[in-house]
Every structure is written in structure tokens, then in C-alpha cells.
């Protein structure tokens, strides 16, 4: 009886330890891939079309979902914000509320989450499949580095797309908020913009949001690339890897957001 409990506990601990070590191991390999990617970037940036192609696949193809989501998020923010603000008689501050929430948090964070689901999974699946069908090996045998030819362009494509998408998200969200607040609810349009301008600081709000989205771009793209590159070369392995991309990217985005916000606010 007692022996049974001890051995069960031991196996649980063993399992936990095993997973922990595996995660550290994966973190190590991810950092190594990151290093190699940066080291091979010069080679791929010298051929801009490779990167432009990836901007098309990650950025342009994510535009629709980003713009539509942003519009709705902005409208909902305005509706909810108005409800609360008008109780304090400051419904003109609705522009401030919408703009600050979008520029500081929702723009970068929601864009990154959508990006992970839309572009990140596509990157993981594509690279995982290239690996499973030996395309990466074939490239290596042709004396072409898959990191320089496949990984690095996708990395830069993602890193460049993300801040642009996040800026668009914030801007379109604010327009959505404007449409609800001004024509629909009847808040004064002048007050909407002027209060916003008075309270949104370029450096502290816009720039910090921009920095956040750049960091998220690096994190999400790198996670997607690593999961694809690390996936077992089977159909099941690739499908699991895409799931991991979404889960790990989301956790990374939320965690990084907390860390960066606490630094930026202090």
C-alpha cells in the first residue's frame, strides 16, 4: 500500500522532471535556431524578394481578419466605454478610452494572437511539411542552407508584418470606435479627437505599443518557425506542432505583454 503510493509519487515526479528537462532542452534548441536565423539573415536580406514573398503570405493574407476584428473591437470598446463613462458625465472621454486601450494593449496583443492563429500556424505547417517531405534535406544536399533560404525570410517577413498589422489594427479600431461614438451615439466629434490627442502621448503610448508589437513579431514568428522545424516529420507530428504554435505563442504574447507593460509604466 505504502510502497504503491511512493512509487506512484515517484513516477509523477519523474514525469514532471522529464517534461521540465524536455522544455528546457527545447528552449535551448529554439534559442540556437534564433541565433542561426540572425546569423543567416544577411544572406537572405540580400535577396529582398524572398522576404517580400513572406510579407505577402504573413502580412497581406492576414489583413482581412485583422481589419475586420479591429473594426469590431473598436465598436465594442466604444459601446461599453460609453455606458460607463456617461455615468460620470464624461462621455467625451470615450475617444481617449478607445484610443488608449487599442494603442497600448489591444492593438499589439490581439494582433499577435490573431497572427499566431492565422500566419503562425501556416508557417509551422509549411515548414513541418517541408521537413516531412524531405524538402529541407534536399535543400541541404544542394548546398543551400534551409535556415538562410527558408527560415530567415519567413522570420523577417513576420517581424516586418507584425508592427504594420498592429498599427492598422489600432487605427481601424479607433475608426470603428469613432463610428459608434460620434454618428451613432452622438458624442461631439471635435471633443472625441481633441481629448484623444490631449491624452495619448506619442512616446509613451504610440511608441511603446509599436515596440510591443515588434517584440511580439519576433516571438510569434520564431515560435512558429521553431515548432515547424522541430516537428516530428509525420502528419501527426506536424498537426501537433501547429497546435503548440498557437498555445505557445499566446502564452508568450501574454507573458511578454505583462513584463513589458510593467517596465513601460514604471
Amino acid at each position: 500500500m505504502f510502497k504503491g503510493v511512493v512509487s506512484k509519487l515517484a513516477s509523477v515526479l519523474q514525469n514532471f522532471g522529464h517534461r521540465l528537462i524536455e522544455q528546457f532542452w527545447r528552449l535551448g534548441s529554439a534559442s540556437r535556431l534564433f541565433g542561426y536565423t540572425l546569423a543567416s539573415s544577411g544572406e537572405s536580406l540580400r535577396r529582398p524578394f524572398l522576404v517580400i514573398r513572406e510579407i505577402y503570405f504573413t502580412g497581406v493574407l492576414s489583413l482581412i481578419i485583422i481589419l475586420v476584428s479591429a473594426f469590431f473591437v473598436g465598436m465594442v470598446l466604444a459601446l461599453q466605454g460609453y455606458n460607463t463613462l456617461q455615468k460620470y458625465g464624461s462621455s467625451e472621454a470615450i475617444g481617449v478610452l478607445v484610443a488608449l486601450s487599442l494603442v497600448r494593449e489591444l492593438g499589439p496583443v490581439v494582433t499577435a494572437l490573431l497572427f499566431a492563429g492565422r500566419a503562425g500556424t501556416a508557417i509551422t505547417a509549411e515548414i513541418g511539411l517541408m521537413k516531412a517531405t524531405e524538402q529541407l534535406s534536399a535543400m541541404e544536399m544542394m548546398a543551400v542552407s534551409p535556415i538562410a533560404r527558408v527560415v530567415a525570410p519567413r522570420f523577417w517577413g513576420g517581424v516586418i508584418s507584425m508592427p504594420l498589422l498592429a498599427s492598422l489594427f489600432s487605427m481601424v479600431g479607433i475608426l470603428g470606435g469613432y463610428l459608434v461614438a460620434v454618428p451613432l451615439i452622438g458624442v461631439d466629434g471635435g471633443a472625441f479627437w481633441s481629448q484623444m490627442q490631449a491624452s495619448v502621448d506619442f512616446r509613451e503610448d504610440v511608441m511603446n505599443g509599436f515596440i510591443k508589437s515588434c517584440v511580439f513579431g519576433v516571438a510569434c514568428t520564431m515560435i512558429a518557425l521553431f515548432e515547424g522545424y522541430d516537428a516530428p516529420p509525420t502528419a501527426e507530428g506536424v498537426s501537433r506542432a501547429t497546435t503548440r504554435t498557437v498555445v505557445n505563442s499566446s502564452l508568450a504574447v501574454l507573458g511578454l505583454d505583462f513584463v513589458m507593460t510593467s517596465f513601460m509604466i514604471s
Binding site: F49, Y56, V60, P163, L164, S167, L168, W193, A198, D201
Partner: protein, 154 residues
Amino acid sequence: MDRTKIDLWVGIFAAIGVAALLGLAMKVGNLTTSNIGETYTVTAGFQNIGGLKPRSPVKSAGVVVGRIDAIQFDSATYEAKVTLKLDKRYLFPKDTFANIYTAGLLGEQYIGLEPGGDEEYLQDNDKIMQTQDAVVLEKMISQFLYSKATETKE
């Protein structure tokens, strides 16, 4: 998908992305309004600045005429020493009054300048002598409660 089409789409994407970023900077943020050309510096001492922050606006008659550059504690006078950067185009008499106001009930705090009648104008590095502190809500409420309490006792 041929190359020129991809190039075109990426070009459009980059253009509207950058435009959005500029829009955030100009239309949403205060990049345009925070850069007031040539400035001169004056200081003012306050007993209590409340929630005033660097980069808060300085207004006169409701018009933004400058920004707060820095806020320090002066250990000689135990006052807050606020440095204001005012637009060179606007001149104020030496006996101008500096008040800390709040925009609305819960809004941001800013400094309001009320010009006096002096013949001479404030120069660079001058000090505004007459100031009024921020209204501290807690203080007002506790004063109010205190007076109520003494009222009911009588």
C-alpha cells in the same frame, strides 16, 4: 501568384501600414501638438502639484501655450519646482498667476496661466511668483466631512 502581383500587394500593405502608424502618431497621439517651435523657460513653485506630470500642457485662456518640462523637489523651500517651456510667440506679464487646474472632474491636470497687469514680461529663466496649488480632492472631502461633523455636534 506572380512576382509583380506580390510586389504590388506588399507595396500596398506597407503603405497603408505606415500610413496607419503615422495616423496614430499625428491624429491620435500628440506628435504634432507636442512640438511647439521655439520656447523659453520659466519656473514656478507649488506647495502641492497634485497629479501634474512632465509633458502636461500649459494653457492660457484655454489655448495650449507650452508644456511642462520637468518637476523637481526643491529641498531649500520644500516646494515643488516646476519648469515650464512656453512658446516664444506668447509673452506674459511678470505678475502672471499660475494655477493648477483639472480638466473636468476626473481629467488630467494642467497649468493655467492668468496674465496680470505688469508692464514687463517674463524672461527666460524667470520665476512666476504667484501660484495656486492643485485642488486635492481628498483634502476637500475631509474638510467637508470635518465641518459637517462639527456642525452636527452643536
